[in-house]
């Protein structure tokens, strides 16, 4: 796929307010949903899912990414969130499964993202082959970085990289969403809540002093 072909998916992946509206709105004809809002095949988890159960990716709807796509996803999410001194990389905490689950979901927003992500992965591999004669996952780290530098900031990305930059931004969001919602991600960010406390004392004094605030 050359860069001109990407024009095709600019249109395909462009945000569709109509889709959003349909997802939100009244006005649609009455369907024949199950009494308990139960999920029909391919329609999501329904309006009354079990909230206490622990779900695994692929459990509520089948995952759609092929092994080759997951390879590219793995390489890219680990490039965005690599291991460092504080925490492991994205793929080590299930981010690939999460992204697969996300683009496989039967909801309008996720279906939109699926188009953007799948086409973006195609573009990434095509671009990598063209520049480095290797698909993205097999390219050298310096080459991967050179490619990402062209698309990592939608505000600075020049044509013909504008659409690829939109893909990258969304992919980074999903990578961060998958990573920072895990216990590892909580710890990395310094989220220390979700534990019952006998009392809430308010901010520590040193923080108040640092900001010149009084309680």
């Amino acid at each position: 796929m050359d860069r001109r072909d990407t024009l095709k998916w600019i249109l395909a992946a462009s945000a569709s307010p109509l889709l959003q509206r349909q997802a939100l709105g009244g006005g649609q004809a009455a369907g024949t949903p199950a009494l308990r809002g139960g999920a029909e095949q391919g329609t999501g988890y329904g309006s009354d899912p079990d909230m206490l159960k622990r779900y695994k990716a692929g459990e509520v709807w089948p995952l759609v990414l092929a092994p080759a796509q997951r390879r590219t996803v793995t390489a890219l999410c680990d490039l965005i969130i690599p291991a460092d001194d504080y925490s492991p990389g994205a793929s080590a905490v299930g981010v690939v499964d999460f992204i697969d689950e996300w683009v496989s979901a039967p909801y309008p927003r996720q279906q939109q993202d699926r188009t953007l992500i799948e086409q973006g992965l195609v573009w990434l591999d095509a671009e990598s082959r063209q520049r480095f004669t290797a698909e993205f996952a097999a390219a050298k780290p310096a080459d991967q970085a050179a490619l990402c530098d062209d698309i990592c900031d939608p505000a600075r990305a020049k044509e013909p990289f504008a659409t690829a930059a939109r893909f990258f931004a969304r992919f980074r969001d999903l990578t961060a969403g998958g990573f920072y919602t895990t216990p590892v991600g909580f710890k990395d960010l310094g989220y220390v809540g979700n534990v019952p406390l006998p009392k809430f004392e308010g901010p520590p004094l040193d923080v108040l002093r640092k900001l010149n605030l009084s309680a």
Binding site: A23, L24, G25, G26, G27, Q28, A30, P33, L35, G37, G44, Y45, S47, D48, P49, M51, L52, K53, Y55, E59, V60, L79, I80, I81, D84, G94, F98, W102, A105, Y107, P108, R109, A145, C148, C152, D153, A155, A169, R172, D173, A176, G177, Y180, T181, T182, F186, D188, L189, G190, Y191, V192, G193, N194, L197, F200, G202, P203, V207, L213, S214
Partner: protein
């Protein structure tokens, strides 16, 4: 036998209450505690917060890391089930697809309704809010004033538990001693907002929320709430003791299994059931009010959603507490020879003057809040502080280009990361990735604040609902069609909100996200229905030709038919409506009890 099968209801009740949320819960509570036999009909399923609330679940246990979907618009762990802006099989229609002319209707088909997930903000209307027309010539005055409702605000606050502070501010009533619980400590971001907003003359004070920062006063309150009624006192004291204080974790929107916040299912219904006076039928979709002899309501017709069978329930009094729009729908669908345009509608006002709240949002990033040390800021699971409307004097002096005020809900903090917490960070990071992105995430997490304006909408002739007889829901009941229009007052108010928020952000040395503030009112305002403060449609008034109920929520046309939900609101002050709904429901219930004792019902 509190929860009963639709086939096993008693032949006759004192009162039928349609709906189990803030209005239905309060109505049933007051009536049952004072001895009336009540049948409650709820369209949704039975719901038990004690066993169903996902208290400490984390996003990695949920599909899509808990992100919102059309099935769960506020996220997977939001307490709402079988609800949202669309409910399967229960459509509604619009007259236009244009965002400015739509009303999106939020419903929660479950026991307790919307009280399970709401924000718990519990503000009293002030004296001005009941007499807005007198002040500026717009909208309608209520036939009651603050002094009529104040004793009921006192009672509701004592019953459900509301934290807050008394500040002595204009049209922002203080509560008598003993009504409010102490407010929680503010977060760092709250304190910074307060410090900087003060330089702009904007007060930031403790929010009022229905969350127990300490255990309720089970020794004194029962006797104050139910004088001379020892059985009621004993039951209430027991339930007050059983409600735990806040454990300072998990967002209130999930509901609360230890009953530390208010939801009808944990506060109103358990003591009402313990009286033995309450039967509840869930999955009971009321379609119309049935009329008997002598111009009185005989009961209601409902569909048992489990069997699909149509059933009838009878009582001396019928109370509609089904939500403003659903109540209007039931009345408009209750057509008979004597009431060809629907029941209690001789004024033609049923469905009219539908209101929501003016909403506008702004988000910002605050460098002073970057890279703070890890600290637990779960706090009370919702807003700790807010800004009550502060420009009364400027408005009186004609310095503002809109009528009526708004308050600001605000906050920040190191909240539990969700699927979208770090979305779109590139506006701050120039698109970083790799180790730099991880450093940026640590730096910016917890440095965001948000402001939500909540303002008064003035009722108008173009905002209403009616029956769309060409569309029926899956139960065969004709659905509602919505008409919607904002006036310039609301649109200009939304612009003023945006400017105010941006000024506060500026005073904090922060940056507004998304290129705001928005200067076009139509862009700044949230679409109709999105703030989920649906009120009006059966407004109360002093005159039967221009309102649906009298000052006691009793319909002018049918004397044993009452409306105790937000439908009776003659105006929609910036104060979130739930506390006022409960106060009016308690007051109406006292009236019903009084009339029943006097054999006038």
């Amino acid at each position: 036998m509190p929860f009963v099968n639709a086939a096993n209801i008693a032949k006759e009740y004192d009162v039928i209450v349609v709906g189990s949320g803030a209005a239905g819960g309060q109505t049933a509570y007051t009536l049952c505690m004072e001895g009336a036999k009540v049948l409650m009909l709820e369209a949704g399923r039975h719901y038990s917060p004690g066993t169903e609330t996902p208290m400490f679940q984390t996003p990695d246990m949920a599909p899509l890391r808990g992100a919102g979907t059309p099935h769960k618009p506020f996220g997977f762990y939001d307490a709402t089930i079988d609800g949202g802006w669309s409910v399967p099989g229960e459509p509604y229609t619009q007259t236009t697809e244009a965002p400015s002319g739509r009303f999106d209707w939020w419903r929660a088909r479950m026991l307790g309704g919307r009280t399970n997930h709401w924000g718990r903000l519990s503000f009293r209307n002030g004296p001005y809010d009941f007499k807005p027309h007198v002040r500026d010539g717009l909208g309608f005055d209520w036939p009651i004033g603050y002094e009529d409702v104040a004793p009921y605000y006192d009672k509701v606050e004592r019953l459900i538990g509301v934290y807050g502070s008394n500040e002595g501010l204009e049209n922002t009533p203080d509560s008598p001693a003993g009504c409010l619980l102490p407010p929680p400590a503010p977060l760092v971001s709250d304190l910074l907002i307060r410090q900087r907003a003060k330089t702009l003359g904007i007060p930031v004070v403790a929010a009022h929320r229905a969350v127990l920062t300490q255990q309720l006063d089970f020794k004194r309150s029962p006797a104050l709430l139910h004088p001379g009624n020892h059985k009621a006192q004993e039951i209430l004291a027991r339930h007050m003791r059983q409600r735990a204080a806040c454990l300072w974790a998990t967002p209130c929107g999930r509901g609360c299994s230890v009953r530390a916040n208010y939801q009808s299912t944990t506060v109103h219904l358990p003591p009402a059931l313990d009286t033995g006076n309450l039967d509840i039928v869930t999955d009971a979709m009321v379609s119309e009010v049935l009329m008997g002899k002598y111009g009185s309501a005989q009961g209601v017709k409902f569909i048992d959603k489990v069997s699909g069978a149509e059933r009838v329930a009878s009582a001396r009094v019928v109370v509609l507490a089904a939500s403003a729009c659903e109540t209007a729908r039931i009345l408009l669908n209750s057509k008979s020879a004597g009431f060809p345009q629907g029941l209690a509608n001789s004024s033609g006002k049923v469905g009219r003057y539908l209101m929501d709240t003016v909403g506008s949002t702004l988000q910002a990033q605050i460098p002073l809040l970057e890279s703070l040390p890890a600290m637990n800021e779960d706090a009370a699971g919702g807003d700790q502080v807010y800004s009550p409307w502060w420009l009364y004097r400027e408005q009186r002096a004609g310095k503002l280009d809109f009528a009526r005020g708004y308050h600001i809900e605000m906050g920040g903090g190191r909240n539990m990361p969700g699927a979208g917490t770090l979305d779109g960070l590139e506006w701050l990071t120039a698109g970083s990735y790799g180790k730099k992105f991880k450093e940026d995430a640590r730096r910016y997490y917890g440095s965001f604040v948000h402001f939500e304006g909540r303002g008064e909408m003035i009722p108008n002739d173009q905002a209403y609902c009616e029956i769309d007889s060409s569309t029926k829901d899956r139960w065969g009941i004709p659905v509602l069609r919505f008409h919607w229009q904002w006036s310039q007052h609301e649109l200009r108010q939304a612009v003023h909100m945006q400017k105010t928020f941006a000024d506060i952000v500026g005073a904090m040395g922060g940056r507004v996200k998304g290129g705001g503030p928005i200067t076009d009112g139509a862009q700044a305002i949230a679409p109709g229905g999105h703030i989920i403060h649906e009120v009006g449609g059966t407004i109360m008034g002093a005159d039967r030709t221009s309102s649906v109920t009298d000052s006691w929520c009793q319909t002018w046309d049918v004397k044993n038919l009452f409306v105790t939900d937000g439908g009776v609101f003659a105006s929609n002050a910036d104060k979130n409506p739930t506390l006022t709904i409960m106060a009016l429901a308690w007051r109406a219930s006292d009236r019903i009890l009084d009339l029943m004792r006097r054999k006038e019902l």
